[in-house]
Symmetry: C2
Subunit: 719 residues, 2 copies
């Protein structure tokens, strides 16, 4: 990562061009140029000017055609390149010179083939830099603007795959994107699909940023094989969040297999999955694991912008299914609405004795053959003041019964537009009922578990959003800060514990008040100075990372004599481990009186997103249970506190089972100071770990008992 610009071009004229030139236009119906031409003319509602370029034709299907882009009298907004790989660079140059604003390059055979191809993509970027024309692609299927009925694509699927809607899809490879598009067959509409292929210039972040401003897009969906530019991605995501548009994302690379496969597919580096997920969480990006989850969450968000406090009703005609769905609602930590008295009365009125009146509502299959009963009961359920969303799991295709249920659902949904009625068509059998739900805009999901998971993610987004609206500025600072950082360029070096602690003290972070001794006599004096009766002594050397292993640490020093003996011993062991010149001395520190809890705080520079802070408690919590939380810097008091509460070990800090609470306020303060310290030296600090950071009882502060810092560039003493 090098210092990055965070501005974004306005892509309006890419997505809605007033004029287009198709280079490589053809009359052969099965060629790329021919299919694109047909998509633009026969299958689009494009009202602007369309120019055609083909050196071998003067007209195609009655439209004039020129030999070269240079022959055009004026620059169109957009050029579409359906030309051979060896023609691409010259064509782009011509377009750029003419003043074309955007170019879509379908052609394959560049970065995905290896080193030579990547060199040509660098040439494309040079054209961007010199002309200002932005490039979409290469190696891509084009851009589908469903809401404007404009297909800037060679795909024959454009003719059928265009159900408009409020969802914007931004992908790298095309396969997963089209998988999403085909969810139109269960009623999910997509307004715009950008699939940028190799991303020589424009990238997913640009499309997300555009969609954040686009008035016809409400929910943004993306599939990522790698994030090329972390800060720009963050900036785009924040822009979408400020515009109130949730992003749902799937990111490959959580396992070695996935990372390797993604790299071989798009040459994208997957980055660390843990860091990636932490950043997504922080930015409110809803991360999902599979395409069906992507569809479910996006379609749900397209129906309701969540508050984070949603309560559910479950409505079914099968008792077992109602029980199963309620069970999953409970396991997911969601809440079933408690019905108001009038709802219970209305249900009791409509239903026979053996049906279940309360939530979950089990109306039984016999009842549902009467449309008025299903309408009345569903209406009561959906209009209950505590119900925010109605889950309707349908275990079987049941002919007339399910068709009638569908009618009632569509009718009630129209009357209660604020309460999404979410059917789950569990069966593998399709039928009239399912069709009616799709046509009625209810976008049925495919499994109860999927639906519950989607609702949970929607609600969690609502909670994040409520918080974000108060706290977006620090997050924007995060993106801006990351953008100014430089990637590790030179070799890194370590700073000794003593020097690191001195820097921490200067930054307002408490350490034991220690002294570095250069002789046994000095050690004895230091022992008296730091005083409290018991001391710890440690070798001080940037060259020694594992002090204990080399015999460089002695605990429980309780007398002058012990201090002198320990000095000799530690110094001798140190000289065995490294050059004497690298030994700064022996650190004598007072032992911190207990009780305290040992926390671990680490900050390291992620190559994609910049400095990330990791927090957890020491021992088995981190090592066996991976109980940590992560945040991009800078931290605010609120975000630092939230980091702490996100770990399970927070229970211990706040006073477990009636035991004393520890000093969480001081811990928060220390995390924020650390964040500020690293931000100040962002260009140099590669890694900083305090382990342990002792958290004493409430009011008694925290103390950095050990710390190590690695840096690049100028030596820390000259800061």
């Amino acid at each position: 990562m090098s210092a990055q610009h965070l501005w974004f071009s306005d892509l309006s004229r890419l997505v809605n061009p007033r004029s287009i030139v198709l280079v490589g236009a053809s009359e052969k119906p099965d060629s790329i140029g021919g299919r694109t031409l047909e998509n633009l003319t026969t299958f689009s509602e494009f009202k602007g000017d369309l120019y055609l370029v083909n050196p071998g034709r003067t007209e195609i299907h009655g439209r004039p055609c020129v030999a070269s882009v240079s022959d055009l009298k004026q620059a169109p907004d957009l050029a579409i390149l359906a030309v051979r790989a060896d023609m691409v660079i010259q064509t782009l140059r011509d377009c750029g010179q003419l003043g074309v604003k955007f170019a879509i390059v379908f052609t394959s055979g560049f970065g995905e083939t290896g080193e030579d191809g990547r060199a040509i993509e660098a040439e494309m970027r040079a054209i961007v830099a010199s002309t200002g024309m932005r490039i979409y692609g290469p190696n891509c299927p084009g851009l589908n603007n469903m809401n404007a009925r404009l297909g800037l694509t060679f795909s024959p699927a454009w003719r059928i795959d265009r159900r408009p809607g409020p969802i914007g899809v931004a992908t790298q490879g095309g396969g997963l994107g089209r998988s999403f598009i085909q969810a139109m067959d269960r009623g999910v509409g997509v307004g715009l699909w950008c699939s940028g292929g190799n991303e020589a210039d424009l990238e997913v972040s640009d499309y997300i940023h555009y969609m954040a401003d686009a008035p016809d897009i409400e929910v943004i969906v993306t599939t990522l094989e790698g994030v090329r530019n972390g800060p720009r991605f963050m900036a785009a995501a924040l822009h979408a969040a400020r515009r109130g548009k949730p992003i749902v994302a799937i990111k490959v690379g959580k396992s070695e297999y996935g990372a390797k496969a993604a790299q071989s597919h798009t040459a994208a580096i997957a980055g660390s999955a843990e860091i990636n997920s932490a950043v997504f969480r922080q930015l409110g990006i809803i991360e999902v694991d599979d395409i069906d989850e992507l569809i479910d969450v996006a379609s749900l968000l397209a129906r309701r912008k969540p508050t984070g406090n949603e309560q559910l009703a479950v409505y079914s005609f099968s008792g077992g299914t109602a029980a199963l769905a309620s069970d999953m609602v409970g396991v997911a930590g969601l809440k079933l609405a408690e019905f108001a008295p009038q709802t219970l009365a209305a249900l009791k009125d409509a239903l026979p004795g053996f049906a279940a009146f309360s939530n979950p509502v089990d109306v039984t299959a016999e009842v549902l053959v009467n449309t008025e009963v299903s309408y009345a009961t569903l209406k009561a359920t959906a209009s209950d003041p505590n119900t925010d969303l109605v889950l309707v799991p349908i275990p079987v295709e049941y002919g007339k019964t399910t068709a009638m249920l569908a009618d009632s659902m569509v009718r009630v949904q129209a009357e209660e537009p604020g309460t999404p009625i979410v059917p789950v068509w569990m069966s593998d059998r399709t039928g009239e009922g399912q069709r009616k739900m799709i046509d009625g805009g209810l976008m049925p999901m495919r499994a109860v578990g999927n639906a519950v998971l989607a609702v949970r993610r929607m609600i969690e987004y609502g909670r994040w959003k409520a918080n974000f609206d108060r706290e977006w500025q620090p997050l924007a600072d995060t993106a801006a800060a990351s953008a100014t950082q430089n990637a590790t360029q030179s070799a890194t070096a370590n700073l000794s514990e003593a020097r690191t602690k001195a820097l921490l003290e200067a930054a307002g972070i408490a350490t034991p008040r220690g002294e570095v001794a250069s002789s046994a006599t000095e050690a004895a004096r230091a022992f008296r100075n730091v005083g409290n009766g018991k001391a710890v002594m440690k070798i001080v050397s940037a060259a020694i990372t594992h002090k204990t292993d080399i015999g460089g640490v002695r605990l429980g020093i309780a007398s002058d004599g012990a201090a002198m003996a320990a000095y000799e011993e530690i110094h001798a062991n140190g000289m065995k481990a490294c050059d004497v010149a690298a030994i700064e001395g022996v650190l004598v520190e007072p032992m911190l009186p207990g009780p305290f809890i040992e926390a671990v705080v680490g900050i390291h520079r992620d190559p994609v997103f910049g400095h990330v802070c990791t927090f957890g408690l020491g021992g088995v919590s981190i090592e066996l249970f991976k109980d940590v939380s992560r945040r991009l810097l800078p931290l605010t008091p609120a975000s630092a506190r939230q980091m702490i509460t996100e770990t399970r070990c927070y229970e211990l800090l706040k006073g477990y089972r009636g035991q004393q609470p520890f000093d969480i306020d001081a811990l928060v303060d220390t995390l924020v100071r650390l964040s500020g310290f690293v931000a100040k030296h962002a260009g140099s600090i590669e890694e900083l770990e305090i382990n342990p950071l002792a958290v004493s009882p409430q009011g008694q502060g925290v103390t950095a008992l050990d710390a190590v810092l690695s840096y690049q560039g100028t030596e820390p003493s000259t800061w």
Copy 2:
């Protein structure tokens, strides 16, 4: 739970009756009796005798009809009751007297309506007890024997819902069962579906036991709202396991919502979800969370009996999809096969330069339009010696391309029958390709995540099975032992720590060699006797459960004088907490020298399944991270060892990061001895907890530092 029989009736004549009487036969096509008659005659291939009973008819559709069951000359194997609720008991009596072997009762209005209904079900059981006739139902849709084309059901769906196959389905409520049946629309065949409704007599366990022996059933599926009889369920499951037939189960009741809903639906008590899941794991029952998972796992097991060592290949025509699928394979902890040289050569031969030759195989969409290429590459992939299963994620319906791919898949599957080719039809769009996969028996799944999860569960079952084949006997003992136990009938009482430890010592479990002192002088003598310089002293009273809280514990006693003072203090505190008569004295024990790890072992009686052992390490591992493992008693050395290895804290026990290992062998021995001790006193012991159980370094044993036992019935001293 009361003492239970573990025998099972042979249900052959219920499932395949030679003769049937339909009571309540009717000619009205929409009545229960009319639909059942039509199902038996027009839509079944029943070759046996069919008798009809209806007091108002002498013939129906040309078949003779008698007024009452008593009019029959001989007893048919099976009676089907399609009569009013108030007629059911008399009809059952008549059937039982005549010598009918089985009765299916469709009729509703019994246990599910409340107390009165449950009383009538008790009458049904009395008829079973007095006549030997077994009852299926009431409140059920009947029994579907698809493999014999025999529909003992009133459901109009029987006419279409009968794709035979090797899967047996045993349910309580009918809705979820039919949801499974409709998976026939993606090629999943069910041979037999038993849906026993209220289970007045026969229950899911009986159907599972029958299916275990049925030659046409290979995989058993069940949905449970509650396990009525734990030992019989265990016995049936073990029988299936011995027959090599996996059970896939979904059990409602993991959350309060689910437990409550299940209870209101079938009056079943859900039981503890954790115990239930632990028992399922122990019995090799594959527990899933949703119906689609049930379908996926069962359909996969119907195709391959796993070894537990399966390796996968991923084959796709979309690079992003291949990366996503590989990623999920890795996250699930599964292995991608490393292809043999001849496979790589064959792939390279068939594919162009930009396709991916290794695993995952990305053949690219352009290639797939050539059937010979898709055949050759898929063939190479499936016939690779390291490939046990091929996952083919298909992101989009792609017309001819996906249809041709389907052709190749079906062809290769026929040639490589031992290597399941598992398509994932990810798209919401159906198409010719999907249809061909279904017709070709490939049973496509609906999402990559579903498929990977199903494969993981299949492989885990294979591992369990490999183990089970060596160790089924102890598990059978478990079921038998549980069956002989009585549920808690009288109030429980606690035993004091000192008495509990004496019992443990007698059972061969080490405790600190302590003495109970009744005076300060005795305490001083005891201090010298137990000797090692440091002692711990604790109040001994069955009436005091929280010794520390009342000031009943003193640590670090290091002299006679300290022991005497501690005695007085502890005894005085004890008298404040309980009656002096309840104080047995003060226990003086040597303090165990460190280092040791504190484990916790608890055994309690689960009301459904009997005694269950819970193991974990103390502190945050159990309290914050719930890091425990559970097993039904009795434990064997192998199962005890496995319990230990299942916890994450096993890492600490075996020597974390080069530190010393602790005495796992002694821990295993102690768990087995505890199990034997509890089994010996199974009728009395309600709960036994050793906390902490100190695990010393390897070779130095384990020691029960504190223990508490609660019992019912006769006092433990008289054992």
